[in-house]
Amino acid sequence: MNTPSFSTVLAMLVSAVLGSTNAVAQDATPKPRPRGGFDRPLADTPRFGNPGASPKLTIVELRMLLGHWADFDANKSQRLEKSEVPELFGKLFDEADLNHDGVLDEQERALVMQSAAAPAASTTAK
């Protein structure tokens, strides 16, 4: 195994210090709310980038949705069918449907609700 030279280690250290300084500076300066029709008065956060992009849904959003399980269980079957959830959750629904029977039952819901996945490590659906 190659041992990194002193200059390489020094460069990495400098880079890390500068990087963390920049990160602090960026955190200290909040981004202004966008203009030009990109305002989102009904959202908690502004949107930057492609205005035609879909929301990036993760297990975090699925957990939030399943927190309102009863609202979406239109036929009161105590199970969520795929047609009862918003369409962009389709891929996450399939992943949570562990026995692939096309519905989320109480046990599958509990597993999603108990999952400890952090947002950064969670599954992203388009």
Binding site: G37, D39, A43, N50, P51, G52, H68, L88
Partner: protein, 341 residues
């Protein structure tokens, strides 16, 4: 197809409710993030005008509202004067994206189909639908699922309400005439992510039509019609549509021959063609009430982006209470505001 437009030069005898729209738009800080969670009569939407009529689109909005579960209502339904993170009532803004939760993250397939029916009922025929959906793609990566469909006020009963649809290059409304003396329920926005001179742009025929009007002007008229630079900013365009008596750029309807005026009316007919008959009729009523085509100016803007083949970066129809601001380059963005003044 829409029927031929009625003549617009006959003044209307009806009284004009001056600047109510502008008072509403200017009335900032009417709501707050917290206020939408307060219930009771204090925040109930005001009554709609007595003469409102239930239309197919409005009935579909009621159906959509009734279909929303408590969680969806929390995400998608807001008080009439809700401001949110903005500074003016959110229902009156023009937007270029979903302004809250998107349809795809809140609505079921059945509800999405209902929203499509609402939008279809607000458009005119297949061609109107093609334009409003931008060939079905909605200029987004997941079609209509990336757009938003929100309700302000209360569509059930006699309270004011506004169904607001926003997405990339689109802001449209259906409000049962809750916003008096204002066409489309407030300013609207449309666009397409293709160069306005390209045949692939769904609004290309609007560009061609207005270019043909320019060709019909004589040399002196053309000189008056061309403006160097760019038109007023979006905020000026949308939130302060021109008051009567202000000097306007471009050539006025009153300086044109009857034939030429007819051509401008043809442009107006074309730009209105994607919308339902009620909206078209309301626009024409307001134009007539504000002084008719005589007072509408047409201006062509050229800047560093233009060249011989693509001569205008913007063109703009503007008169009292009326702005149709069409950006051709680099792709189409159009802001529209029509209100009685």
């Amino acid at each position: 197809m829409n029927p031929p437009l009625p003549p617009v030069n006959t003044p209307l005898p009806s009284a004009v409710d001056r600047r109510r729209f502008f008072r509403l738009v200017g009335g900032a800080a009417v709501g707050s993030l917290a206020s939408r969670f307060i219930t009771g009569d204090a925040l109930a939407a005001p009554l709609r005008p007595d003469n409102h009529q239930a239309k197919a689109s409005e009935e579909l909005v009621r159906e959509y509202y009734a279909s929303l579960n408590p969680y969806q209502r929390q995400q998608l339904v807001f008080p009439w004067n809700y401001v949110g993170a903005g500074t003016t009532p959110a229902r009156l803004g023009v937007y270029n994206t979903a302004i809250g939760k998107a349809i795809g993250e809140t609505c079921t397939k059945g509800q999405r189909e209902l929203i499509e029916r609402i939008m279809m009922s607000m458009s005119s025929g297949d061609d109107g639908w093609r334009k409003i959906t931008r060939n079905g793609g909605w200029d987004t990566d997941n079609g209509i699922l990336s757009c938003g469909a929100y309700i302000f006020g209360d569509p059930e009963g006699d309270r004011k309400f506004s169904f607001l649809f926003t997405g990339h290059h689109l802001t449209m409304r259906c409000d049962g005439n809750s916003e008096p003396n204002t066409a489309f329920g407030g300013p609207i926005f449309y666009g397409h992510i293709v160069n306005g001179y390209s045949q692939r742009n769904v609004f290309n025929e609007q560009t061609l039509k207005v270019m043909s009007v320019y060709e019909m002007l004589d040399a002196d008229q053309q000189k008056h019609a061309v403006v160097d630079g760019r038109p007023a900013t979006r905020d000026d365009t949308v939130f302060s549509p021109t008051q009567s008596g202000r000097d306007l750029p471009g050539i006025a309807g009153r300086d044109l021959s009857a034939d030429q005026k007819g051509l401008i009316q043809g442009v107006l007919k074309d730009v209105l063609s994607p919308y339902r008959e009620e909206d078209v009729a309301e626009v024409m009523d307001i134009v007539r009430a504000n002084g008719g085509m005589e007072k509408i100016h047409l201006a062509f803007y050229r800047d560093t982006e233009t060249n011989e083949k693509e001569p205008w970066s913007y063109w703009r129809l503007e008169g009292p209470g009326f702005v149709w601001n069409f950006r051709v380059l680099p792709h189409v963005h159009t802001y529209v505001s029509v209100a009685k003044v």
